[in-house]
Amino acid sequence: MWKWLHPYAKPEKSYQLAGKLLPWFVVVTVITFVVGLVWGLLFAPADYQQGDSFRIIYIHVPAAMMAMAAYSTMAIAAFIALVWQIRLAEMNIAAIAPVGAVFTFIALVTGAAWGKPMWGAWWVWDARLTSELILLFVYLGIIALYNAFSDKVLAGRAASILTLVGVINLPVIHYSVVWWNTLHQGATIMKFDKPSMAPEMLWPLMIMIVGFAAFLGSVSLLRFRNEILARESHRPWVSALVTDKLSGEK
């Protein structure tokens, strides 16, 4: 049943598969970004309370969701890397981590920009903002650890251990921040609970979520391919690939 999966443990096959998938992800990203952004930013009705400033939701929410999705992907890859000792899963972690960190950063910046008109402050120690900030710290720790090793095989293993430790810790961090927040500030916090949105606002948001997922996929695939090439640069198939490319250009 799993036989179709086996060839992809080989870096060469994985590299080719990633190359085949990449155009699809890019196409989906471009289409959904164009449709979602134009619809969301120009045609969706303005919110009756928040006016036009609510439109940042079309960047903020998808980025925040994909920041967490990227971490879940890394955690699954870390588990695969440690249990079945598959090096490609480690490369996958190295490929996704910076993308996830950037998405977290986007979510934080857009959250701050949204907070200014809504709450009157750039930064509020809201539970979600705080746990997103800590998620960014965890991402940065993993990236720093990966870069600190000169031997990338060891770096991959160390990063996967840290990713797994982080995934056990993240729910604890999240709930501790939620309780800390409710106990400290009582009624003053602004609840960001998902409002029951009108469909004409919700549809562009859905499209943008799909778009950010595809964007995450395409950037990670690109980075994954680069990671494979960088790590396997001494292999014959990589040099064959390079000579092919070079002779094609002539």
Partner: protein, 222 residues
Amino acid sequence: MFKVFLQVVSKELKGAFRRQSDILNPVWFFIIVVTLFPLGIGTDPILLARIAPGVIWVAALLAALLSFERLFKDDFIDGSLEQLMLMPHPLAWLVSAKVFAHWLLTGLPILFISPLLAIFLSMETNTYFALFLTLLIGTPILSLLGAIGVALTVGLRKGGILLSLIMLPLSIPILIFSTLAIDAAAYGQSYLGLLALLGAMLVTSITLAPFAIAASLRVSVS
């Protein structure tokens, strides 16, 4: 099994007592950091009592960070860490002994010194009691979490700052629950629930962290 545990602990303790500054320096650091706060923000007793839990806990975190280097570093340099890994006993068990010894040398002195700091920051008796309990439960968790970070970074030349980047975000829940418990005690509320949560985290980290430490050591020493 238990004999080996005790042997590792006693070896660690003996080594530490021959170089006592290693134990004393983090404690001095802890006291000095706490002293800086009244000097920096004024000596109003009400204000000091309000910020005391946070100050003491953040100082304890930083002091713990300073002391982690010596957990595996010296053993890594002189090769005894490899000998430890070659022993016929499970590595997770041996590293738990090392972490326990480390807690005896760094967590326990902080507990002993905490009454002095409670006086410095004009804490009340029942608030201090809550502080003591949270330190008692929380510092072993810090030792275990930190040991994972040290084990991951021990082979690197400049692991120190990396260790703090890795470890500090992961220790945020301990900080939050401890200060919440102390705050609750200051307002005269029951803080048993928060202590129970800390206890749950302690049990979880005692059961899981040794395996993570052992796996990380295998990565670093290879």
